[in-house]
């Protein structure tokens, strides 16, 4: 995303704060998407503090649930939030919401801890990444619609199903633990998770149509 787009987004945000008016783009961005944009543009420490206070306790909780221990979870949280601060100006609201962006950084930080080398996740929205031209997917409305749909479908899942979806993000050790606890082969545990994800995908598609 170029600088001009950020300018426009932020000015539409400033306008809407004054008058209660909001245009479509701004309307579809979440509070945290705009907060991230502000941090990137103005290096606004108080905006960063509220983002930190919202996300880091959720990230810690998420990391604990997917298999990190207490100290690793805190460390990954801190490293993730440092990266959020340092990379905020590269945040592109057309390609990801704030929570997806932060999740992606945390995913990489978790891998970096397991490996010696660190390498960033490639930018899947960079057209150069693709061998063949793909459908243009970097559109704020489309992106926010997708994320809204996922949230809605997640909210309405039966608890058993929701638990399986979450376990897709567990580490390998946690998958083995489930296999032991349920007396199921590891492959069966993984294929149940895969089926749950597939069912979710079908629901997302039904939602579209």
């Amino acid at each position: 995303m170029n600088f001009r787009v950020v300018e426009e987004l932020i000015s539409s945000l400033d306008m809407s704060m004054g008058s209660g008016f909001s245009n479509d783009n701004q309307n579809s961005l979440s509070e945290w998407d705009t907060c991230l944009l502000k941090i990137g543009k103005y290096r606004d420490k108080s905006a960063f503090k509220s983002l930190y206070e919202h996300f880091s306790p959720r990230l810690k909780s998420f990391l604990l649930r997917i298999g990190s221990d207490e100290s690793a979870a805190e460390e990954i949280c801190q490293e993730t939030m440092i990266m959020v601060w340092r990379r905020a100006e590269t945040y592109n609201p057309e390609s990801a919401g704030a929570s997806t962006w932060i999740f992606t950084i945390a995913r990489n930080k978790r891998i970096d801890k397991l490996r010696k080398d660190s390498r960033p996740l490639p930018n899947f929205n960079d057209p150069l990444f693709y061998q063949k031209p793909i459908d243009k997917s970097d559109d704020i409305l489309q992106r926010t619609e997708e994320e809204k749909k996922i949230k809605n479908v997640l909210k309405n899942l039966p608890p058993e199903q929701a638990k399986l979806i979450l376990s897709a993000y567990y580490d390998d050790k946690s998958h083995r633990k489930i296999a032991e606890e349920t007396n199921l082969p590891l492959g069966t545990v993984k294929s149940r998770i895969r089926l749950a994800i597939n069912r979710l995908r079908t629901q997302l598609e039904d939602f579209e149509g």
């Binding site: 420490k45 503090k49 930190y52 996300f55 880091s56 306790p57 959720r58 990230l59 810690k60 909780s61 998420f62 604990l64 649930r65 997917i66 805190e74 801190q78 939030m81 440092i82 990266m83 601060w85 340092r86 990379r87 990801a96 919401g97 929570s99 997806t100 932060i102 999740f103 992606t104 945390a106 995913r107 990489n108 490996r115 080398d117 660190s118 960033p120 490639p122 899947f124 150069l128 990444f129 693709y130 061998q131 063949k132 793909i134 997708e146 994320e147 996922i150 949230k151 997640l154 979450l166 897709a168 993000y169 567990y170 580490d171 993984k190 294929s191 895969r194 994800i197 597939n198 979710l200």
Partner: protein, 219 residues
Amino acid sequence: MNKQNTLTLVESLLIDYANGTLPLALEVLVETHISMNPASAKSIRMLLQLGGALLENSEPISLSEGSFEKLMAEIDSGVDKDQEIYTNVVNDNNLLPLPLRNYAQDISSPKNWKRIGIGLSEQAINFGDNFGSTKLYKIAPGYSVPSHSHDGNEVTLVLSGGFTDEYGTYGPGDISIQETGAVHKPVADEDGECIVLAVNEGPIVLTGPVGRLLNMLIK
């Protein structure tokens, strides 16, 4: 392995990619696959968004006292060590998909290929870990890789051209997965040379009559 099974195994690979549990070689293979296959790119997008939604829905648990102040102190004093590999591509080899360029040697230069059979060359890729082995194979049109089995799972991604084995026909961007013990003999399409990226968990065992002899010699 039939195509249906391969499809579900590819889905498993994508899920493991999203949660970050793949070894580096497979991570790079999946990224290369995504760069060639829009459907898988869409799946990864959904899986990362799903991760974001699950993060957002998590019940907050406080970090230890003074975490934010500690973080700000580190930010104010620290050096930014995070490097952007993708903006700093070492290997300017446009024939390779972007995710592979930092790892493989220029495929257009013959010195980077080692001839291992008639119509067959390889280039080993070192990912700096102890996970299995990763190679690029180049198969001349109509030639084949000797019939072989695997002492571990093998994931093969077609980079260019295509091949056919006992289980199906594979083109650019397609993944073929051989499970431990499976035997196959890939034959490159007649209309051009075929380059694949193959990640092996364990050593390859040659199963044809000549291959068996070679295995005995290797041991």
